[in-house]
């Protein structure tokens, strides 16, 4: 018998929390973006686990779509980051305050 699904769910929850900590504590925009990927992967692991537990393929289809959306998100997000870096060198998230009134 394989490892019970709850173990995978716990692992995914811990990975998600680590991603949250990274987003809230790191200030480099690229590393924050990597933490978003981490959280997406944690949720993907949850989807696959539920797919196995419920014996249903829909979870894997959801992961498939998450992968596509993550790829599109990375393309646009990194384009934004490059566009910001072109204006200001040495950007951390705290420096991006041009919307401040």
């Amino acid at each position: 018998m394989s490892v019970p699904g709850s173990w995978y769910l716990i692992l995914a929850a811990v990975l998600f929390s680590i991603g949250v900590v990274g987003i809230l504590t790191r200030r480099n925009v690229l590393v924050m973006f990597m933490c978003v990927e981490l959280m997406l992967n944690a949720v993907n692991l949850t989807f696959v686990t539920f797919s196995r537990m419920l014996n249903d393929v829909a979870g894997q289809v959801a992961v498939f779509f998450v992968l596509v959306v993550a790829a599109a998100e990375v393309v646009v997000g990194l384009g934004l980051i490059v566009a910001i870096f072109r204006r200001k060198a040495n950007v951390t998230a705290d420096d991006l305050d041009i919307l401040k009134g």
């Binding site: 018998m1 680590i18 990927e37």
Partner: protein, 209 residues
């Protein structure tokens, strides 16, 4: 007692790749150098791919390695190389002093919330509503059949999404070579004028300071 029902190879695979995923994730959020963080991210993504194989999702494991480890992290590394490694993310003071404690508290709260949800009846869905994951080796064909029949409309929507993302990336990363002369001639007569043009990212003169 529960451990006795798990076969040893499964347990070893889960423990090793789960530990590697956790170490990689901790590395992403602790290492100062963004290149090291990206490499740790590769480790986590690869471990999750191994876990996908362990959960009989072979196609997703292959796609995970190709798309995430192969494409997305390479894109990250390209951008890091393009922009130069930024060491300014050291232990410098945050703009908001209580940001770091609040981050840990909220992460613990999220973990607790997920645990509470997991203790109750989380798997209330009906079994095999879309299609069964029957037998070994049949998963890929089941996934393909679902994607191309039940989920055909979302699948086509993702192709549109990818096209839009590509166009958006091209527009964002285009240098405003042919726009700047226009702006130079425009600026004297309408100083505070064209708000719509200035609202676009990359053509805001004030940002350059």
């Amino acid at each position: 007692m529960m451990l006795a029902t798990i076969t040893t190879p499964d347990l070893i695979v889960f423990v090793v790749s789960g530990a590697a995923a956790l170490v990689g994730a901790l590395g992403v959020i602790t290492l100062r150098n963004p290149v090291h963080a990206a490499l740790m991210l590769v480790m986590t993504l690869f471990s999750i791919a191994v876990l996908f194989v362990e959960e009989q999702a072979q196609f997703l494991a292959a796609v995970q390695v190709m798309v995430y480890a192969g494409a997305i992290v390479v894109l990250f590394l390209f951008v890091i190389m393009l922009l130069g490694v930024d060491h300014s993310d050291s232990g410098a003071r945050d703009a908001i002093r209580w940001q770091r404690p609040v981050a840990f508290v909220s992460a613990v709260l999220i973990l607790l919330e997920v645990s509470v949800l997991a203790r109750t009846r989380w798997a209330t869905g009906a079994h095999s509503t879309t299609a069964k994951l029957t037998g070994s080796g049949a998963h890929v064909s089941e996934l393909a059949r679902s994607v191309f029949t039940t989920y055909l409309a979302p699948f086509e929507a993702t192709s549109a999404l990818l096209i839009i993302a590509v166009v958006g990336a091209v527009v964002l990363s285009r240098t405003s070579r042919n726009r700047s002369p226009v702006r130079e001639t425009e600026r004297p007569e309408s100083v505070g004028g064209s708000g719509a043009e200035e609202a676009t990212l990359g053509s805001t003169p004030e940002v350059r300071s």
